[in-house]
Symmetry: C2
Subunit: 672 residues, 2 copies
Amino acid sequence: LMVWIEVSGADMKFPSIPDKTPFTPLVVMELAEDTNEEAVTWLTSRIKDTQQSGGAELMIDRLTLDDNQDPKKENQNIFIVGASRERLLVGAEDVGLVKEFNDGSMRGFTYANRENFKGFQGDGDNFLSMAECQFIVKHELDTLRARGETHVPGYPKIRLYPGKSVVRRIQSKGILVQIFPLHDKEELKRLSSMWYQNVQLSFQPLDDIRHYFGESLALYFGFLEYFTLAMVPMALIGMPYYLFDWEDYDKYVLFAVFNLVWSTVFLETWKRFSASLAYSWGTLSRKKAFEEPRPGFHGVLGINPVTGRQEPVYSSTKRQLRIYLVSVPFVLLCLYLSLCVMMVYFSAEGLVLGLHDEEPTFWTSLLLYVPSIIYAVVIEIMNRIYRYAAEFLTDWENHRLESSYQNHLTLKVLVFNFLNCFASLFYIAFMMQDMQLLRQSLATLLITSQILNQFVEAFLPFWLQKRRNKRVHRRSGKVSPDQELPFDQQVMLEADMSTYLGTFDDYLELFLLFGYVSLFSCVYPLAALLAVLNNVTEVYSDALKMCRVFKRPFSEPGADIGVWQLAFESMSVIAVVTNCALIGMSPQMKSYFPDSETQLILVVATVEHVFLAFKFILAFVIPDVPRHIQIKLARVEFESMEALKKKVMYTVLRHFSRSGEYGNLKRCKCLQ
Amino acid sequence: LMVWIEVSGADMKFPSIPDKTPFTPLVVMELAEDTNEEAVTWLTSRIKDTQQSGGAELMIDRLTLDDNQDPKKENQNIFIVGASRERLLVGAEDVGLVKEFNDGSMRGFTYANRENFKGFQGDGDNFLSMAECQFIVKHELDTLRARGETHVPGYPKIRLYPGKSVVRRIQSKGILVQIFPLHDKEELKRLSSMWYQNVQLSFQPLDDIRHYFGESLALYFGFLEYFTLAMVPMALIGMPYYLFDWEDYDKYVLFAVFNLVWSTVFLETWKRFSASLAYSWGTLSRKKAFEEPRPGFHGVLGINPVTGRQEPVYSSTKRQLRIYLVSVPFVLLCLYLSLCVMMVYFSAEGLVLGLHDEEPTFWTSLLLYVPSIIYAVVIEIMNRIYRYAAEFLTDWENHRLESSYQNHLTLKVLVFNFLNCFASLFYIAFMMQDMQLLRQSLATLLITSQILNQFVEAFLPFWLQKRRNKRVHRRSGKVSPDQELPFDQQVMLEADMSTYLGTFDDYLELFLLFGYVSLFSCVYPLAALLAVLNNVTEVYSDALKMCRVFKRPFSEPGADIGVWQLAFESMSVIAVVTNCALIGMSPQMKSYFPDSETQLILVVATVEHVFLAFKFILAFVIPDVPRHIQIKLARVEFESMEALKKKVMYTVLRHFSRSGEYGNLKRCKCLQ
């Protein structure tokens, strides 16, 4: 699909209006090369149609490719979508955007009231960010519904029924290959220089990240930063343990206690911090629109009990049965298999070690590494197969909503990854009870995983993308990669970039890191320091990959980190149990209770329960939303209720005066 | 205050309009006997004033007492409050009443739309229940606000400021002695016969209870019934243990496991059941109005940040300091004292037992009972003092909202009662490890507490009230207590009944009972049977006391049992820990691990953790609201959002056509 054609004439500056499109290009839709022309005509006309006649009222134009290139080789079905300023403002109300009002409060944007919002000047040209405009266009395309059409023109087999989302239908049927928002070179350059290009000691520009990438991603980077900062005290406290070789368990106990309290407080205060962020970004008080079914959802045509619209329906009992009778047993089986593989690994290692001890040669010392390498490879393969299977199963469970699909997938992958990463450590800690080996394995896992991750995830793709960019630039006659490409080629270049699949893998990485730091913190206090180092580089590599490697993702409104909050909290509960157990097992602890191991265990168990209770009480006592934001939210709520009441009183009084019943009311009083 | 005067003429049938009040009497307000007449005139005129001029637009009339009695002895300041039908319907909208719509869904009642609600016929005479009308009158009285008055007329010291609730002010200053809704003799008779007068094997008439007493109380009785039914299987399984003297710990383990799973499931399904009840009663989807400060709340006059109204404000930091620096240490001190008293009791008992064993005489065998009796008396005294102190402290914490006051008070009382009731059992179980004694104590506590409770709480007051009724009837010339009293005397009789202080003590009783049943279930399976018996009689005694002993309480809308759900869930978590510990301590269990006590403890601890994890997963997996109700709620939400959107589109289009911008939009499209 690599095509780059020189547009006749001068360079076009993006995002200013290019020669051939009479509007600001926002979103690119790529249809399949062999799409029936009838379908293309129908689709573009539906997108252009006024809202009153059921269209999306957007602007769409085919991307004209230069004819220097062989047009046969290129996909001619690439379309640029944009919208008029007024359409975007009306759309902002449709999607329920919340903006800062003149009085400093956050309110749902309404077109009628637009001039009372902060930052709305003149026609409201810079009121909406480009990311918001793209989000609005995406939403309007998604909610473009079939009217009378029984099928997609030119495709009698792709049926449509009234109310069905057209774009989702053609996407799931492969006519729409991809849809993505365009990068804004100017803003991206500004953002990059603030964010990662200069090594500096400052916070990330979260507001700018949100402005360019949307709330969900900005919350991820916010969490990454918060998590890193929260670990700095732990890293500082952990350092002397390493420097002075403190093997004293009293000190380890102190460290573990600090760690447990700290991780609880950190997770609770993060909730408050993210609520502040989400409030200032307008997502905390945002009313969610009714969710459309996800593209892959299928079922018998029926009536949705909520909307009353025709759409596929699928029995929830059937889905439950699929989950509990197939998915859950499958996941459990996989967990069991993974444990078996681990046991094989440990016995193989024992065997090899025995062999080497018996008759140490060069070959046996090489053989020592074989089980570990095989185990690492097998785990990686299992991980990939499992991921594929989990996606397949979750798809087969046929969830109606994207959010519910994501939650079920996340849970499946999370459980498996947790076991894969930590089972061997648990085995070493509690079965073999070899603290030296545990510390070693922890260090190896931490260091290798973070180096590998960042290389595979960011620097390798970055390097590949850079090479591609250079090639494109060379072919289009620009020598330096800093020079602007013609608009058409820029679009084609972006169409060819990899797609960012969401924050899942990034959060997963942090989750596992959190596990390494907290689960065994009392035997390896240095973990926090390594984690801090990892996170600092992670900020840079993630920023790099978002800005340079991937297509721009559609901004996603989010008020919190969702299921990950729960995952991190569960991890911190498990950490209480493991740390208490580790402390209980330490020889230093045992020497306090020389006579009775029973008493030691009882003391440890009691302490553990007290800790758990303390955690729950702390989580209960600390409010999730800071007070000043609670007050602001309550004020808006109160005002809207008062307004409603006034409206109601007005209606009632009008009704009374019309029907003469108000006279009745008065008469009743006269009776007294 | 006992006065009953014969109204000239025949009997009046309640709630039909009595001779002297030209409206249906709903609520009684009793002002202090020595209230300044100026204040009375001002208050009644404010209550009668139209809403437009800031009044409550209700009807109010002084209760005329017969002059056969000496008027000096009687309080002449008793007022009857009512309202016109239309006023009540408008008020129903004010308080946010949710009613069944014609299409079967539950919707917020609006006056304008009143004819589309189910059961609204003609003028809507029987649309609102009497309890609802009384609640509306109460709400309208509570929200009657001062306008220009700087103080209550006749009381220069009782200051008022604009927006201050008049009724709450005069109530906290003692001018308003009490305000209560009137009983409806007819409906009460019907309800009694369905509810408790005939011993029958049927469910309680929850809908009728709610109709007469409101949602909060109906939820209490619903919970009581649900709890009882949930314990029936446990009682049935527990019986053979008693009958056949099963001392076999395998069987006890089975029973405990069943108990733990069952109590989790029971609490989770109760949430679903209560959501169904609350949905059908319209409280689940009810929007809460902004809460007014509670009458006792004081502070410097300031601006409420939410409403923008003038009201006393009190620094939340100060309150937090009072809570954490005074209340929490005080509660901890009390808990410590209570433990000390318990230790003294146990050592005294040991002493007496030793004395008796040494030289058993009649006197020493009597002496055996002394410590228990003293301990019971001391506990009762401590309970009362603590309750008083808790109320004082919570009052002093100066909570703005009644709900927050209640929560803090509940928590304080709950913790102390928990310790008082269970500390001795814990001591016997885990320190003395005497299972025989534990079983004995459990049985004694269960049986005596339930007999005492029901006697003190229901039958004694009922008997006292009955005597009073008889006296009233005799004096008014009616011989049989079934005969109707004249209206005035009925009012005076009700004014003199005790006030029901809310469901707190009733829930507390159930909570402690749940503790007896679940905490030590594996040593005393018969507890469930005793609890079932207790609950069955509890239904009758509680019903009796609500219908015959107390003033009618104002109905309180409630969607769930609030803080009690949390309390019961916490108790079931503690039950997991205690049951596992008891099982681990049993000699039969120990015989499985003859070599190593350590291993036994580790196994028990593991099982306990698995149980706890299982509980949390179960609580997470079972949705709190049944699916069909979720769908109904989502439908109403969706429809209101659609309606809003339509309204918005209409506004926007009108705006466009007015300002000519719609032409712009069209022009933009032409550009393509």
